[in-house]
């Protein structure tokens, strides 16, 4: 699969990465695909929104958004689209 990057500018204060993605989806790019799962509610994390921010694996719902971020799908799993992965299929990459 060919990797492509899209750049978005978002205005957000105190938002999590997941909230930033949701803003992009709602206001800029409805084709942006990501899993939100529990959305970070409460103390238990479901793990659906795992992804890489600046090359570090995070849960998007728990990670505070930074001024500049490169967000990628988690390298360990096969990417289905954008930030969505198939948890049943490992990509074979480290």
């Amino acid at each position: 699969m060919k990797v492509q990057y899209a750049t978005y500018e978002v205005s957000c204060e105190g938002a999590t990465v997941l909230q930033v993605l949701e803003q992009i989806y709602e206001n800029q790019d409805p084709t942006l695909a990501f899993r939100s799962g529990c959305g970070g509610s409460g103390p238990a994390r479901c793990g659906a929104c795992v992804m890489e921010v600046n090359d570090i694996p995070v849960l998007a719902c728990g990670k505070q958004a930074e001024k500049e971020m490169v967000i990628k799908s988690h390298r360990k799993f096969e990417c289905l689209k954008d930030l969505v992965v198939d948890f049943e299929a490992e990509s074979g990459k480290d």
Binding site: P30, F34, C38, G42, P43
Partner: protein
């Protein structure tokens, strides 16, 4: 037809606790099973994180299943289907034993399961994990392992949009293969709905956005009898302040581990006024109701709720609990905003947490449609009555899952796959494709937002006739003007989440209308259904409200509650 075919004995739609338990049972009965889920197995959906810290079962004397049944019927204000309560709670001890055997880490004390008390239960009977620990991750890991161990086929990212009927019997389902953006048709001898609740039709909810009542919608549209739709459980545990924790349900976890007391803006422990006996240990819906009344009377906290306080507890008790608790980030953010729960109260308000309305079912979890079973929140049956006791849900899910799995397998062993008419399948597939094909129309996300607004304004904790009428008019307008022409703006086929939004929006509108119509007809207040214009419980209303699809719109009727076990006092 350009759809792919997938045939099986038992189709389970939804992979929460009830769905997985049903799939496990059917698989043990030796039939073929396909479990579909609209997201990723044991990640999306409520069970992996909302299934919190209560799982009730009468395990040891002096407790008894009879006492558990009794508490449940009293808690349900005598509106429960008592036969179902007994059938399901009888399986409580077995459910705990199964989960434990499958590897779920439950607290033990001196050779027995450690059980903690909850409001409404006459004895402590909830098994639990380590204090302060949500059991959600345990369910997620344990059930995932069981599914994999048994080689149950799971189709992920499959959004089932409608059921397929063949001469009035459910013969399968139509869905969207989200990954490919293509329709998929399932044929099954038995179909089990395990799709969870519809709390996402409210703005303020402890649930995530996935709780869109997909099973409720598809069952209704297929002609299944629905019931008790007006009973939505609101629990007072959503954070109001600080803004970065707005809507966070962490207080829900605190509440089970530590006993809070609640204050209004005058510093009064107002629950003593509403419930002189139970006081701050009143059931969650009772507390929610009181908070809403206090806010309406002008005694709400600055951000529109009540203060939940632990200040009365010894500081070291609180710290011992917090030392073992999870979710430290919440407490850190609270502290950053100047709130230390050892001294300060958390401002909280009620939010939708669980639904008690769904398909009419019998004690085999059969719906009114042959070939269709419903479990968990999708299968109401009136099991919860007018209010559900904390921790009964997991027990119900496990019991119903095993019962429906067995019944579905039994039917499959003696039934053929029914012939599906191509017209029927085509019609449903076209309906599913419509939002993608329309060029202009209201976006699904805007329709969902509008539904949430209507429901939050017109059908929240407190209802009244005028408000419900108004809500119904808005829903009707929305259905004709907006939903009929709904269009996605994203037209990509592969993994189009806006398309999922569109299919969910259809269900939200159906569900919202069912709730409002049922709430309008029930002219009394009982448990979770509170009518400001009919503030008392009326014995004449010991009836269930039923909803069925009619020629035009919805047909409502009522049926009396039966009392085979205990009569109302």
């Amino acid at each position: 037809m350009t759809a792919d075919d997938n045939e099986t004995d038992v189709l389970v739609i939804g992979s929460g606790i009830a769905g997985i338990r049903a799939a496990i049972e059917a698989s043990e009965q030796g039939v073929n099973v396909i479990l579909t889920t609209k997201g990723a197995l044991c990640k999306d959906g409520a069970a992996s994180w909302m299934a919190g810290n209560a799982f009730q079962a009468a395990l040891y004397a002096p407790d008894s299943v009879e006492a558990h049944i009794r508490d449940t019927i009293i808690g349900g204000k005598y509106l429960n289907n008592q036969t179902l309560v007994k059938t399901f709670l009888d399986l409580g001890p077995k459910a705990v034993e199964e989960m434990h055997r499958w590897g779920m880490r439950l607290s033990r004390w001196k050779g027995k399961f450690y059980q903690i008390p909850f409001p409404g239960h006459s004895l402590p009977r909830s098994v639990c994990g380590k204090p302060g620990l949500f059991l959600g991750p345990e369910y997620r890991k344990t059930l995932f392992r069981e599914v994999k161990k048994r080689g149950i086929r799971v189709d992920e990212d499959i959004f089932i949009s409608d059921l397929l009927l063949s001469r009035g019997e459910v013969a399968g389902a139509v869905g969207l293969d989200v990954r490919k953006g293509k329709p998929r048709i399932y044929r099954a001898k038995s179909t089990i709905l395990a799709t969870g609740g519809f709390m996402a039709c409210y703005e303020f909810t402890t649930a995530g956005k996935a709780a869109t009542g997909d099973g409720h919608g598809m069952a209704y549209r297929a002609g299944a009898r629905m019931m008790d739709m007006e009973f939505v459980q609101f629990i007072p545990a959503l954070t109001l302040w600080p803004p970065n924790l707005f809507g966070d349900p962490y207080p829900y976890l605190l509440w089970a581990g530590l006993h809070p007391v609640f204050y209004n803006s005058l510093g009064e422990r107002f629950l003593e006024r509403y419930y002189p006996d139970a006081k701050d240990w009143a059931t969650r819906e009772a507390v929610a109701r009181a908070i809403v009344k206090e806010v309406r009377a002008g005694r709400g906290s600055p951000h529109g709720g009540a203060y939940m306080s632990f200040r009365h507890l010894p500081r070291n008790l609180i710290e011992d609990f917090l030392g073992k608790a999870s979710g430290v980030e919440y407490l850190v953010k609270l502290k950053d905003a100047g709130i230390d729960i050892r001294h300060d109260g958390i401002e909280i308000a009620p939010g939708a947490h669980y639904v008690q309305g769904g398909c009419w079912i019998n004690e085999k979890c059969e719906t009114s449609l042959a070939g269709l079973y419903a479990v968990g929140e999708a299968g109401s049956g009136g099991k919860d009555g007018a209010d559900r006791l904390a921790g009964n849900s997991i027990t119900f899910c496990m019991a119903m899952g095993s019962i429906a799995g067995m019944a579905a397998a039994k039917r499959a062993k003696s039934s053929p796959l029914l012939r599906i008419m191509e017209n029927d399948a085509d019609r449903l597939v076209r309906k599913m494709l419509a939002p993608m094909e329309r060029k202009n129309g209201m976006r699904p996300t805007d329709i969902k937002r509008a539904v949430r607004k209507i429901m939050s304004q017109h059908a929240f904790v407190e209802r009244d006739g005028g408000g419900l009428d108004g809500g119904l008019r808005k829903l009707e307008e929305m259905r004709e003007r907006d939903l009929a022409g709904m269009a996605t703006s994203a037209k990509n086929e592969l993994f189009n989440t806006e398309w999922i939004d569109a299919l969910e929006a259809v269900n939200l509108v159906d569900v919202a209308e069912m709730v409002c119509r049922s709430a309008l007809i029930r002219e009394e207040s009982r448990g979770l259904h509170q009518r400001v214009d009919y503030p008392d419980a009326e014995p004449g209303w010991l009836r269930h409200v039923l909803v069925e699809k009619a020629e035009k719109g919805m047909a409502l009727s009522t049926t009396p509650v039966e009392f085979p076990i205990m009569k109302p006092e």
